[in-house]
């Protein structure tokens, strides 16, 4: 009788609908649901910091929003991404222009750029609006939104995605940061990722090289974000990231439905002003505005894959 039962049940199961019908229905429903949106977003390969703050639902909102009004849906938007150090200074400033076609142009702003009596890195701690206003003056663009994350999170972030591939032009071994990496491609996470990002000493071009490392790391991280890891990734990130209160990140996220092109450059600085010790960087306003305009228009030069 067992064989009879077996064949009867098999015959019943044989009646099942075509799985392609169900797949099609699943995709259709996915497109309608907010969750589908998040999964759509999850496919994006955008700069890690960008991906980090556009996906999650549990983002902590800060009180201050930039004075400018939020951008209309799927129009271009300028977002200031801030990497914070342990004491609340802004260690890395990445100014990103998200195009309507979901490509991203990025300009790193050196932290030591002089603004009045201050430097860029100290403004956010004073008042986020002060920083966004300074960046607007500096670049001649509107800052639509900002997001801030602790730099120390990046070691863990790299770990979540299974390591980030970077490429060095020469071996890096330096005791202050603890960095110890060979020339060529390495996959880094945890402490080595942090050390890679933090190294200040023994770099041929100092902070410029460090900034290039930030960009290389973000690009490498973007390449590791997939549909499958984006959600745990986003959840992890959302614990520590802050965005301005006026920003509907889920709405913003709708533009990302596929791979994202990313193009990075560093704002040119003119001279180092010695002010009784600390080195300030000065910026030629005309040059800076033209540079940002050119970069945001997608005309920036492609940088080398390997960094110092």
């Amino acid at each position: 009788m067992n064989d009879l039962i077996r064949s009867a049940i098999a015959a019943e199961a044989e009646e099942r609908v075509n799985s392609r019908t169900v797949l099609a229905e699943l995709h259709k429903r996915k497109a309608r649901k907010p969750f589908g949106l998040i999964v759509g977003v999850a496919t994006l390969t955008v700069a890690a910091a960008a991906a980090a703050f556009i996906i999650p639902t549990a983002i902590k909102k800060t009180d201050a929003a930039p004075a400018t009004s939020p951008a209309a849906p799927v129009s271009a938007a300028n977002v200031l991404l801030l990497g914070m150090d342990e004491v609340g200074n802004t260690d890395a400033l990445v100014y990103a222009h998200f195009n309507a076609d979901s490509s991203v142009s990025v300009v790193s702003l050196p932290r030591n750029v002089k603004v009045g009596d201050d430097q860029l890195y100290s403004l956010y701690a004073q008042d986020p609006k002060k920083l966004t206003a300074a960046v607007e003056t500096l670049t001649g663009t509107k800052v639509d939104h900002y997001a801030a994350i602790k730099m120390s999170e990046f070691g863990r972030i790299a770990q979540i995605v299974g390591g980030v591939e970077v490429c060095l032009t020469a071996p890096a071994k330096e005791e202050y940061s603890g960095v110890d990496l060979p020339a060529g491609k390495s996959t880094i996470s945890g402490d080595q990722a942090l050390a890679f990002l933090r190294q200040r000493h023994d770099l041929p071009n100092g902070d410029v090289d460090r900034t290039r490392r930030h960009q290389a790391f973000l690009t490498g991280l973007a390449a590791k974000i997939t549909k499958d890891n984006a959600l745990p990734f986003a959840r992890e990130i959302s614990k520590t990231i802050k965005v301005d209160a006026g920003w509907d990140v889920v709405e913003f996220a709708q533009r990302f439905q596929g791979p994202v092109k990313i193009q990075a450059a560093t704002l040119p600085t003119e001279a180092t002003i010695l002010n009784n010790g600390p080195a300030y960087l000065a910026v030629n306003p005309g040059v800076a505005k033209a540079f940002v305009e050119n970069q945001f228009a997608g005309n920036g030069a492609v940088q080398d894959a390997c960094v110092n």
């Binding site: 039962i5 019943e12 099942r16 609908v17 799985s19 169900v22 969750f35 959600l231």
Partner: protein, 168 residues
């Protein structure tokens, strides 16, 4: 395992299972679709399990066993029991196809939980432990569900054989 990969590998089998326990392909489709939508929302957790397929199957089974589908299930049961009455007398007893259809009809009118256990044993070749996991009950319960189901089916089979014996 990612959700998409899971769906690609398991959807067809899952539909087969759902169809076999519900005896209604449209109900099976609805249940599987709804379950997969829900599973996707918590895939981070499910995907990390040892046996995501068992968990999703449990969701499908629970959905079917839940009150929401009772009416549909009863309608099907009535329809199948009608079939069960007619099939043996109308069909050629020597015809394997007819025998199988008769068995299908008898399985269709079993209590739902018994049928789910039966399908897992005879369609999925699951152990008592695996069935217990899906049904969220003790293994002894699985064994009693299965033995009751087999008893019912056997009783029908004996009755039918006896009837056929008289006829031939």
């Amino acid at each position: 395992m990612g959700f998409d990969q899971f769906v690609a590998e398991r959807l067809d089998r899952l539909l087969g299972y759902a169809t076999a326990i519900t005896c209604d392909k449209h109900l099976a489709q609805d249940i599987v679709q709804n379950v997969l939508m829900r599973a996707q929302n918590k895939w981070e957790r499910i995907g990390a399990m040892d046996a995501p397929y068992l968990y999703v199957k449990r969701m499908v089974t629970n959905d079917y066993l839940s009150w929401r589908h009772r009416r549909a299930a009863r309608e099907i049961a009535v329809e199948r029991s009608e079939l069960a009455k007619h099939v043996p007398s109308e069909a050629d007893p020597a015809d394997a196809h007819a025998e199988r259809e008769a068995m299908r009809a008898r399985i269709a009118v079993l209590p739902r939980k018994q049928r789910a256990a039966l399908v897992m044993r005879y369609y999925e070749d699951y152990s008592d432990a695996e069935i217990a996991h899906v049904l969220d009950c003790a293994e002894s319960t699985v064994r009693s569900q299965l033995s009751r189901a087999l008893q019912t089916l056997r009783a029908h089979e004996i009755a039918r054989s006896a009837t056929l014996g008289v006829q031939s």
